[in-house]
Every structure is written in structure tokens, then in C-alpha cells.
């Protein structure tokens, strides 16, 4: 099997011809051109899709299902044509990494939008009752993607700790009283129970269902992992509860981005035996200069922590918040520097920093192609 696999991290932008029908909006010429242009670029026979899109409005439920499926096909082919070894569909079947899983659970009620940054908001829910998983929520999605993917599939799922931290808690902390002498312990205890219940009742059954479908690569996303410094042990515990006896049966990847990574060590080392790959974002913090010196590769310093464990290292080499197209040589140098620090190039897997949903398909595709070329330049 080829070493140093290239993979994405999850999201790709949803094209407007995918989103507008679901929002009840009319498609315009630009939307149709996007679908046509990318059909040509990706060499897709998409007469069925283009025929439906030509209606421009009043799409039936069946139409929307077909459009959604085609978005998956396009995204898969985009990633495969870019040359990636492991693929997903850019999350075309999902709303968003938090809202999608919560929608499939009982015991949660959406309360409204709250700000993330700038004018970016997300719908946040409260846990108001006992958590019940209605049914595993990735199986159908995986089935659709499995029909069309030619390369190996890696599925991202949102982890228990992040689901807990991004939710309000009206259930586990319902007896919390301000000013009480045990207020801090009560809060901590409530959050722990909330996270562990999500791990056991929601994430683990989802993973079991995916394993039963034959999934070989699963990525657990925990962007909230370093939000609260004294809860990193809880992050680790929740991951262990989520994976449980599935450890070793599937290749598990853990993705954490835009975090204070040094805080995670040495706790992260406890996940050896549970998680195979740890993926971090690095390019966002790095210079754009070529070279393999520490001054040029400032974004990659935390790699030294990986000399104390044997994880595969998911190396973020593309900045996902910028349209800057990394030259293959820059990616090559980032990889070579990482290999030098680790002392073992075989441990590297190559990926963008995070999902590419904030970039156009043109930019995402070019970045990813360069990423694959950069890997080949560095490691052959």
C-alpha cells in the first residue's frame, strides 16, 4: 500500500446549484454554468442533473434528492481528480458539522443563532432531556458515497466533546445554583456526564454502524478539544469511550484545528492504541517562504511533541482561509521539514489544514493538486 496518503479533512463549498433549490431560490445563469463547467472539468456525464437544474425553480423533493446526490458525485470526482488517496464528498449531504448530528438526536432543541466570528453564526441547541440516538446518522450518507467513490473513503464525524461543548446544557446542569459552594465541581461533573453520554450513546453506536458497513477510515473531529484547559483529560476520556472495542478494527484519525496544541500533550499520548493518526493545522501559522529551516517553518514546531509517540501525523500543508495557491515546492519543504523532525517520513499523511468549504472549487482543486504534487516531490 502506498505510504504517505493524501486526504482531505471534510468540507468543500456547496455549489449554489446545490443550495438554492433547498432554500427555495431561483437558479440563475451563473449557477447553471458552474454545473456545466465542472461537469466538463471532471469529465462527468451529467445530463440528468442539468436537465433538472434547467427548471431553475419549484424543485420537487425528488429533484432535490437527485441534485444532492449529484453534488456528492461532483465533489468526490473533484477530490479524486486532484489525486487524493482518501476521499469524502465534501459533506454535500450535511448541513454543518454541529447541526447535522444534533438534528438526528432526541433530547435537543435548537435555540437560535450565536456568533462564531465576524458575521459567521451557527445554530446552537440545548440538551433538554435524556439523549437518544434515533438511528445512526452516517450510514445512509456513507451508502450514497460508496456507490460512486473510486478511491478509498474516509468519513469525518463530529466528536462527543465538541458536541457537548457547543451545546447548551439544560439537562445535566438543571440543578446548578449560582453562588453555591460546590458550583465549580457541579459544573464540571455535569459537563463530564454530558460528554460521556454523547460518547457512549451517540458516537460509539455510529462508529459500530459504520464499521458494519465496511468503513476503513474514520476521522473524528474535535475542534473544541483545547477550549477549556482543565478538560483535556475529559476530551481523551470521551474519545476512548467513543472508540472503545473498535480500536484496531478501523483506521481512526483525530482532527483538531486552530487550537493551542501544546496543551494537548502529554494527554494525547494516551490515545495510542485507540487513534492511528493525529491531524493538526499547521500551514495557517507558517511562512510562505521556501526552505526547511525552523525560521521558515515556524508553523510546524509542535511536531516535536510527536517524537514522544508513534502516531501517524496528519500534516496540514494548505492554508484553508486564504486563496493563496501554495506552490508544490512550498508543500514539499513543509513535508521535508516535518520528516526531519519526526525522523521517519513514513509517519506522515498529507492534508489541508481543515475543510475547504470557505474556498471556491477552483481554488480548492488547485490547492489540492499542488498538495499531491508537493507530496510526490518530497517523498516520491
Amino acid at each position: 500500500m502506498r505510504k504517505n496518503l493524501t486526504h482531505e479533512i471534510g468540507s468543500l463549498a456547496k455549489p449554489s446549484w446545490r443550495t438554492k433549490p433547498f432554500l427555495g431560490k431561483t437558479l440563475d445563469d451563473r449557477d447553471l454554468c458552474h454545473a456545466e463547467d465542472w461537469a466538463k472539468k471532471l469529465d462527468i456525464e451529467s445530463a440528468e442533473l442539468l436537465g433538472i437544474l434547467a427548471k431553475r425553480h419549484d424543485f420537487s423533493q425528488k429533484d432535490k434528492e437527485i441534485i444532492s446526490r449529484w453534488a456528492t458525485i461532483y465533489a468526490l470526482l473533484l477530490l479524486e481528480k486532484a489525486g487524493l488517496d482518501l476521499v469524502w464528498d465534501g459533506e454535500q449531504q450535511r448541513v454543518e458539522m454541529y447541526e447535522y448530528p444534533i438534528q438526528h438526536l432526541s433530547g435537543f432543541v435548537f435555540k437560535g443563532h450565536v456568533r462564531s466570528f465576524d458575521n459567521k453564526y451557527y445554530r446552537r441547541a440545548a440538551c433538554v432531556d435524556e439523549i437518544v440516538l434515533n438511528e445512526p446518522y452516517h450510514v445512509k450518507e456513507y451508502g450514497i458515497i460508496q456507490q460512486f467513490a473510486k478511491k478509498r473513503i474516509k468519513i469525518p464525524i463530529t466528536g462527543a466533546y465538541t458536541l457537548m461543548d457547543w451545546s447548551y446544557d439544560e439537562y445535566y446542569s438543571q440543578h446548578l445554583l449560582p453562588g453555591k459552594s460546590t458550583i465549580r465541581e457541579d459544573k464540571r461533573s455535569a459537563r463530564k456526564q454530558f460528554a460521556i453520554d454523547l460518547a457512549r450513546k451517540v458516537i460509539y453506536p455510529n462508529l459500530v454502524a459504520l464499521c458494519a458497513q465496511g468503513v476503513q477510515y474514520i476521522q473524528i473531529d474535535e475542534p473544541a478539544a483545547t477550549t477549556k484547559m482543565d478538560e483535556i483529560p475529559l476530551v481523551i476520556e470521551a474519545l476512548k469511550e467513543s472508540i472503545g472495542d473498535l480500536a484496531g478494527k478501523v483506521f481512526f484519525s483525530l482532527h483538531i484545528c486552530f487550537s493551542d496544541y501544546f496543551r494537548l500533550f502529554p494527554y494525547l499520548n494516551e490515545l495510542e492504541g485507540f487513534v492511528n493518526e493525529i491531524h493538526f493545522e499547521f500551514a495557517n501559522r507558517d511562512t510562505k517562504e521556501l526552505g526547511c529551516s525552523p525560521e521558515q517553518r515556524v508553523g510546524y514546531e509542535v511536531l516535536r511533541e510527536f517524537t514522544q509517540n508513534r502516531f501517524f501525523v496528519g500534516l496540514g500543508v494548505l492554508d484553508v482561509h486564504s486563496d493563496f495557491i501554495e506552490p508544490p515546492e512550498l508543500i514539499r519543504d513543509r513535508i521535508l521539514y516535518a520528516a526531519k523532525i519526526l525522523g521517519d517520513a513514513d509517519r506522515l499523511m498529507i492534508a489541508p489544514d481543515c475543510g475547504l468549504r470557505t474556498r471556491s472549487w477552483e481554488v480548492a482543486f488547485t490547492k489540492l493538486r499542488h498538495m499531491v504534487k508537493g507530496r510526490d516531490l518530497a517523498l516520491g
Binding site: H113, V114, R115, S116, Y168, P178, S181, I183, T227, M229
Partner: protein, 308 residues
């Protein structure tokens, strides 16, 4: 007891949608301002009867962003997580020599602390980041110069005779302050207090690590988050006759508060020295939920009924 709605108030769903549309170029800045003004008017209505009212800061992206318009050469930088929340601010990139452009202060205040004919009898609350918060979310400028920047801004705000400046500062609980930081913080407050105006300090989310120092500061009100601090820890040492900004509106939960705690507060501190505030940034809660929390609190405080 009074209610004081410190910090940025959450935006309505309509303003959120308008902000998104503005970012995409689908509406003009004038249309966006209309939505911001509507939110502000609704918020003023919610504060009817309060003795100190806030404009809600609906046109602030975060507590740092507006400063780039008044500090020549300042620009917005990368995102940084706001303490232990899922909210992100942008770092303000400054130069060591950064100073407020005095010629712009008046216009800046009108833009970012708009006055209102509603609640005209009330004093006006001006929320600002304190020294350590400003340093935490900026780059390129040392703390001494930041203190000078804050002094300039506050003196401009003090022109309004009814002003109350409320400095927001999680660092009083988040970490141990150094002796130099404490000296600079005290000096800043002492310099501003020479103007004879009201200054509050609002801290939250953490147990108060620097309690002795915090309680010794010559301000007119001190904030305590009672979802991170217990009554037994805090109130015995709380300065006599000092005003308490009691963080009792829980911005980490959408559940309506059990208000029986207010009885406990009144047992320890004279009611006239208590302001009830959010325990953290209200922006962490959706607007309609925060409105409900405030309305429940208002009913209880006015009726003096704290047993729901």
C-alpha cells in the same frame, strides 16, 4: 437591586441575517444600519426603567474591532479564541507608537455608542475592554501605551456627564497577574478616577484569582461571576459599601434562572449596592433567549419576588 446589561448584547435573527447579506454585498451599509438601529431601539425598550442603560453595541464585531478606526495604522488581524468559549475575536495589529486620533473621537463615540431619546433620564453605560484584555487581543503595542490609549478614549466618553464606563476584564480570574500588570492597572484607574466619574470593572467566567488586588481597586463597582465563584468565597471579603455587579444571568445556559439566589445576595449586601448582570458575554446566548432571561429578572426585581 438594579439590572445592568453589560457587554455586547446578542443580535436579533433579523440583524444576523442582515449582517450576512451585507457581507455578501446584497444590502447596503445604510440598510444594515437600519437593522442595527432597530435592534438598539428594541434593546432600549427592554431597559425601560433602568437607571443605567447600554446601547447594546450592535455594530461592534467584538470589543476590539472599532478601535482600528480610531488608531491610525491599526488593522484587523488573525482570529483568536475568546478565552474558553467558542467565540473568536480578531487580534488588533498596532504599532508601539499607536495613539488615538483625537480628531476622530467625537464621531467615533457617536457611531459606536449612539445615544437614544429613549431612557433619556438614565445614565449611559460605555463598555470597553480593560488593559489586560486589550493586550491579550492586540499585537505590537505594550501595556503602558495601551493604558494611554484607554485613557484617551475614556476621557472622550467622560464628556457625557451621565457616563458610566464599564471595563470588561476576564483576566482578574483567568490568570495570575504580574506585579507590573497590577501596578499599571491600578495607575490607569487612579488616573481616570481623578476625573470624578463612575468606573465599573466587570469580570467573569473564572474564580477570581487576583481577588485581593481586584477588591482593592478604587472603582465604583466590581463584577463577580456567581457561576464560577461561591458566595462563601467572595462576599466576606467584598469591600464594604462597594457596588456588586453580580453575574447571575447565566450566558452558558439557555435555561431561565432560578432566582432564589437573589435572596442570598440580599442577605449579604444591601440591595441598593447590587446590580444584576450577565455572568459573561451575552452574545453566547441567542437574542430571544437573553430577552426572556432579562424579562424574568425584571419581573422578579420589580416585584421583589425571588422565589419562582
Amino acid at each position: 437591586m438594579e439590572i445592568l446589561l453589560t457587554g455586547q448584547y446578542p443580535r436579533s435573527e433579523a440583524l444576523i441575517e442582515a449582517s450576512r447579506r451585507f457581507d455578501r454585498g446584497l444590502i447596503s451599509s445604510a440598510e444594515l444600519k437600519n437593522h442595527q438601529d432597530k435592534d438598539r431601539l428594541d434593546f432600549e425598550e427592554l431597559q425601560k426603567g433602568f437607571h443605567i442603560c447600554s446601547s447594546g453595541l450592535f455594530n461592534w464585531a467584538d470589543l476590539m474591532r472599532p478601535f482600528q478606526e480610531i488608531l491610525p495604522g491599526a488593522r484587523c488581524g488573525p482570529l483568536k479564541r475568546f478565552y474558553e468559549t467558542n467565540l473568536f475575536w480578531r487580534l488588533l495589529e498596532l504599532q508601539e507608537s499607536s495613539r488615538i486620533d483625537e480628531s476622530k473621537i467625537e464621531e467615533w463615540i457617536k457611531t459606536y455608542f449612539p445615544s437614544s431619546s429613549a431612557n433619556s433620564q438614565a445614565r449611559r453605560l460605555y463598555n470597553l475592554p480593560f488593559l489586560y484584555l486589550f493586550k491579550e487581543y492586540s499585537q505590537g503595542c505594550n501595556m503602558e501605551n495601551i493604558a494611554l490609549i484607554l485613557e484617551q478614549i475614556v476621557r472622550g466618553l467622560f464628556v457625557n456627564k451621565k457616563s458610566v464606563v464599564c471595563f470588561y476584564e476576564p483576566a482578574f480570574g483567568a490568570r495570575e497577574l504580574t506585579e507590573q500588570e497590577k501596578t499599571l492597572g491600578r495607575l490607569l484607574i487612579e488616573n481616570l478616577k481623578k476625573e470624578g466619574k463612575s468606573i465599573y470593572l466587570w469580570s467573569n467566567f473564572y474564580p477570581l484569582k487576583n481577588r485581593k488586588f481586584y477588591f482593592s481597586l478604587p472603582v465604583d463597582g466590581l463584577g463577580v461571576d456567581f457561576y464560577a465563584n461561591s458566595v462563601e468565597e467572595i462576599l466576606p471579603d467584598f469591600p464594604k459599601n462597594q457596588t456588586l455587579l453580580a453575574g447571575v444571568l447565566n450566558t452558558e445556559s439557555t435555561a431561565l434562572e432560578d432566582l432564589s439566589f437573589l435572596n442570598q445576595l440580599k442577605e449579604n449586601i444591601s440591595a441598593q449596592n447590587i446590580f444584576l448582570t450577565p455572568n459573561g458575554p451575552s452574545e453566547l446566548i441567542p437574542r430571544q433567549v437573553m430577552d426572556q432571561k432579562v424579562k424574568q429578572l425584571k419581573e422578579a426585581v420589580y416585584a421583589e419576588k425571588f422565589n419562582p
